[in-house]
Amino acid sequence: MARLNAQNVERAKAVIRRYPRERSATIPLLHLAQEQDGYITPEAMEHIGELVGATAAEVQGVATFYEMFKHEPVGTYLIGVCTNLSCMILGAEQVLEHTEKVLGIKAGSTTVDGMFTIEEMQCLAACGGAPCLQVNYRYFENVTDERVDGIVDALRNGRDPEGQSIPPHGTLSNITLPAPTTPADRERPEEIHPAPQGVES
């Protein structure tokens, strides 16, 4: 399960073909793995390393750098509440406390039914709409306790909260573009990629 399945391997190969170097596809493939499993498993990182010609350690280095890659299972809906300056001044702590109360969990944990995870976030770059939160990276601005209740209620009942369609965590965009034409010499085994210019001392 944890390695990419056959269908995703095909998608991965198509993604890799878009880049002049295989390893440039590391981040897109991590998204693919997260879509498949809901989070990034060690097996997926090994598999991605094999696909892009990197060691598993290199893939893990990338995967642990970016906050949006999760290394443990998270709920179907990841609620990120910003508690940075602008939001805090406008009541973010109350929003977070209320969200925790509604879902019965503390920030950083997941409900037993696997539906929700709460995260306390750094600035989400929506200060103009503070306080703000994200559900699976979709924005909700100027949130109040009542709106939190409404969002949670809609998600629990399979409705779009406030008319926003929110796919489960990890789902990638459905928009696909055809891969650019492969340069003729891409597949040549004897190709040596010139190393970045080093500075001789």
Binding site: M45, A57, I192, V199, E200, S201
Partner: protein, 905 residues
């Protein structure tokens, strides 16, 4: 500046008011250091790409908007650049950086191995604020964790300078450690269950600017201020990396790489770095052993040497000098090898000597082919690899070649029976199963690369000991035919095998790369009478011993039962030889069967010189005392000679070095004084064939010659300070006997030759002859050997449909004496596993991982299989010399190839 302005060759920059010269493209931090201004740094390392991670090297550079703080490791110098490294702004930046670095760095210096030699400690003292405003709890990690079985990591001490991770990726090509996480929780780590199993992991410990990375063999063994050190040369393989040997309480505790430009760039492989553990082993021989019945019992040197003398003189008197043979010598220093070569040829009178154990190439070819240096190999237009896996056999040469591929676009053509560590870096890798090596040189891919390539260098060695060396000779001949100007770098892997061959420890050759025939008069004028005919090589010696034709067999650190490709023959030889005398540091499989075992000193315990694969001679220095009564091999040779009624005439190591310089044509000028000079720091290239393609006389190599010249010509009788054990009581009396060419005359002669400068050697010798002295009667100095590979085109039988052709090659960690007596390295030997192409496994109905019976014409073994796409179809691959039964049991050294059958059990 206009387009026509000539590019400046040097820039002038001002650092702290002082004008210094800098090279275009040079980094400011490096230029300043050359000019005498040290800028503090943690992440910058001259052998790696700059990253600007640590910000410690911030300096003020005057720009259009006035002075600006800039990281000096990231900016190349510009002409007229004005730099301030000591301004209040710079000082404030340094204070700030150190205060921030120390926010999370624990102050456990008193219990940290790095304490006392720690760049963070030193630079905090020199440049730091002295106080921290930080009062909060520091970051905590589990400490320490294992990155591999050799290296431990304390993440709390790590300052994220990126040196180890950059080294692993950029230099070693094993990016198995990476930064994980981000921000304050960034850590260096491996992937879970995927350890940092790089052959070069020890370098990260040396690179670490704090105590985060520690090598397990050194952890808590010593404090830096207790260490005493001496510079020396690594003898774990034939690359000859320079290193510092550090000891505490007369035990070697650590080896550190020393940066020399032509060889190792400061790196060491883990085998070279950690196999010093063997010198501290409790299994070391400390007393001579003499056989009584079935057991070897400790004895005195007097008794043991008397026994050896009796056996050897008896053998010579009753059966002739041809009944004595000397096998081995690659562990020896040049001086040891020279002494044994002289002892064998003169006192014993035999030419049955061979430093190789049937696992190398014919000596006259190794010595006589036109040569290339490592630098030449790395700057060639095409590098042809006709040798074993560089990563396994010559790891630092692998780093150099890999670096040249990555950074300079070196093109590599690999011709190999199986995939190697170099394959992924090769422009083309041609698979040549045993029997097809020579024809692979004419393969279309190979031909395409060879055609039109300008300078071609070939690394020539033995790819598989299961295939006769004739195949390599045929391939080298085919290459010479295709590219007549090709030069060769020897790929023979054993420690000082090149020095041993150069000293004449091979049948038919004399010291200095001359043949017995050519050098008879020249060497004979110093040595006396020499054997009439060229003797037997290792295969011949062991065959003769097995047939009962040898009465005396001396093993000079040789373990034919482990190292000779054909264990059955080695076993019969040891049983059939009259008296077997082993000179070794440990009891090995072979020395356990000897009649007398004499304990020898090993690297670190004796002084001398060693010659690497490119013919570079560098010094070995003594750091510790040999255990018990063990002593250097040359002393044993000298003592034996005097007991046998001869006299080698040696008084000290320096004395032998100077005699080599006088007698061995390829070693002219490589005197003990020259090796001690500043020019000798990088090692001195031996003369001869490096110049095969250049005009002018064959002389010592390259630029070094100039300085050596100066030293030899102007050196006012420099004192030789080669550290040497005080002579043992039973040393030959220095006053006894007078040899024809003492120290002074030989030195005078070498100087005369050097003073002759550009003239021919012969002329130079004549000049020195005119100067008087006993040299007047000496014959002409012969030219060094020039040879071409002997083409045999030996018929190789076709492999039958049921068999696979065996390839047996060396791994870095094997059943070798030093590895097995180094507790950290011994478990790393991979063992004998049959690697086969998955398609062949399927055809044979074997599941990978199952045990199979492997049958050759010699015997049948039960071994585990492993599927490997790097092994071509029709081939079975085994690592050679692994613990337990293995390849050596299957190989018949007389056959051109070895075929094996795999059967399920």
């Amino acid at each position: 500046m206009t387009d026509t302005a000539p590019a400046k060759t040097t820039f002038t920059i001002t650092v702290d008011g002082k004008e210094i010269e800098a090279l275009p493209g040079e980094l400011l931090i490096a230029a300043a250091e050359r000019g005498g201004t040290y800028i503090p740094r943690f992440c910058y390392h001259p052998r790696m790409r700059p990253v600007g991670m640590c910000r410690m090297c911030l300096v003020e550079v005057v720009g259009p908007r006035g002075p600006q703080l800039q990281p000096s490791c990231m900016i190349p110098v510009a002409d007229g650049m004005v730099v301030d490294t000591e301004s209040p702004t710079v000082k404030k930046a340094q204070d700030g950086m150190l205060e921030l670095l120390l926010v999370n760095h624990p102050l456990d210096c008193p219990v940290c191995d790095k304490g006392g030699e720690c760049p963070l400690q030193d630079q905090t003292l020199a440049f730091g604020p002295g106080e921290s405003r930080f009062v909060e709890e520091k970051r905590h990690w589990e400490k320490p964790i294992d990155l591999s079985s050799l290296v431990a990591l304390d993440r709390e001490r790590c300052i994220q300078c990126d040196r180890c991770t950059r080294f692993a990726d950029e230099v070693a090509g094993d990016p198995l450690i990476e930064f994980m996480g981000r921000g304050a929780y960034t850590e260096v780590n491996t992937f879970p269950d995927d350890p940092f199993a790089s052959y070069f992991s020890g370098n990260t410990v040396q690179l670490c600017p704090v105590g985060a990375l520690t090598a397990k063999p050194y952890r808590f063994k010593a404090r830096p201020w207790d260490l005493d050190q001496v510079e020396s040369t690594c003898t774990s393989c034939s690359v000859g990396c320079r290193m510092a040997v550090q000891s505490s309480n007369d035990r070697v505790v650590r080896l550190l790489g020393v940066d020399v430009d032509p060889v190792n760039h400061g790196w060491l492989c883990d085998k070279g770095r950690f196999d010093f553990e063997a010198s501290n082993s409790d299994d070391r021989l400390t007393m001579p052993l003499v056989r009584t019945g079935d057991t070897l019992t400790e004895s005195s040197w007097g008794v043991a040497l008397a026994k050896v003398t009796e056996a050897l003189s008896g053998a010579k008197d009753r059966h002739g000098a041809g009944s004595i043979a000397v096998l081995g010598g690659a562990r020896l220093t040049n001086e040891d090898a020279y002494a044994w070569s002289k002892l064998a040829r003169t006192v014993l009178g035999t030419d049955h000597v061979d430093a190789q154990l049937g696992d190398g190439l014919p000596a006259e070819v190794v010595l006589g082919l036109p040569r290339a240096t490592i630098d030449e190999a790395c700057s060639a237009d095409l590098l042809v690899l006709l040798t074993g896996d560089l990563k396994e056999e010559l790891p630092i040469l692998y780093l150099r070649v890999r670096g040249a591929v990555q950074d300079q676009g070196l093109r590599v053509l690999e011709i190999s029976p199986v995939e190697t560590g170099m394959t992924r870096y090769a422009a083309a890798s041609v698979r040549a199963v045993p029997g097809e090596l020579a024809s692979a040189v004419g393969h279309d891919t190979a031909k395409a690369l060879l055609q039109g390539a300008g300078k071609v260098v070939c690394v020539l060695g033995r790819q598989s000991v299961a295939e006769s060396a004739d195949a390599v000779m045929d391939a080298a001949a085919a290459l010479l035919e295709a590219v007549p100007g090709v030069t060769f770098l020897s790929g023979l892997r054993r420690a000082n095998v090149h020095g041993a061959l150069d000293m004449g420890l091979a049948p038919g050759v004399l010291p200095g790369r001359i043949s017995l025939a050519d050098g008879r008069e020249w060497v004979g004028s110093t040595w006396g009478e020499l054997p009439a005919e060229p003797g037997l090589d290792a295969h011949g010696i062991l065959t003769a011993a097995a047939e009962g034709k040898l009465q005396g067999l001396v093993l000079l650190g040789a373990d034919p039962l482990a190292d000779f490709p054909d264990r059955d023959l080695a076993r019969r030889a040891l049983a059939g030889a009259g008296t077997v005398i082993a000179i070794d540091a440990f009891l090995t499989a072979s020395s356990r069967q000897a009649d007398v075992v004499l304990p020898a000193a090993i690297a670190g315990e004796k002084a001398g010189s060693t010659t690497n694969l490119e013919g570079r001679v560098s010094r070995l220095n003594q750091k510790i005392t040999p255990p018990g009564t063990a002593r250097a091999d040359w002393m044993i040779a000298a003592e034996l000679a005097s007991r046998l009624g001869g006299d080698l005439g040696f008084e000290s190591v320096a004395h032998i070095t100077d005699e080599i310089a006088a007698v061995a044509p390829a070693y002219v000028g490589i005197t003990s004084a020259a090796l001690l000079s500043s020019a000798g720091f990088d090692g001195l290239l031996t003369g001869g064939l490096h110049d095969a393609h250049h005009e002018g006389p064959p002389s010592m190599g390259r630029g070094e010659a100039v300085e050596v010249d100066a030293v030899a010509a102007h050196g006012d009788n420099p004192t030789v300070e080669v550290r040497d054990s005080s002579p043992a009581p039973d040393q030959p009396d220095p006053s006894a006997g007078s040899e024809p060419h003492g120290d002074e005359s030989s030195t005078a002669e070498a100087e005369a030759i050097l003073a002759g400068g550009e003239g021919d050697h012969v002329e130079a010798v004549q000049k020195s002859a005119e100067a008087g002295e006993s040299v007047a009667t000496r014959p002409n100095r012969p030219a060094v050997l020039r040879s071409t590979p002997t083409v045999t085109r030996r018929a190789v039988p076709a492999v039958d449909g049921y068999s696979l052709r065996l390839v047996a090659s060396h791994k870095l960690y094997d059943d070798g004496t030093l590895v097995q007596h180094s507790p950290s390295l011994a478990p790393l030997a991979p063992g004998s596993v049959v690697r086969v192409n998955p398609a062949d496994l399927e055809r044979l109905g074997v599941t990978a991982g199952d045990s199979v019976r492997v049958t050759s014409s010699r015997t049948a073994l039960t071994l585990t299989t492993q599927a490997d796409l790097g092994v071509p179809r029709g081939v079975a691959h085994l690592a050679f010399d692994q613990p337990g039964p293995g390849a050596a049991d299957l190989i018949d050294a007389a056959a051109p190839v070895t075929d094996v059958r795999l059967e399920t059990i």
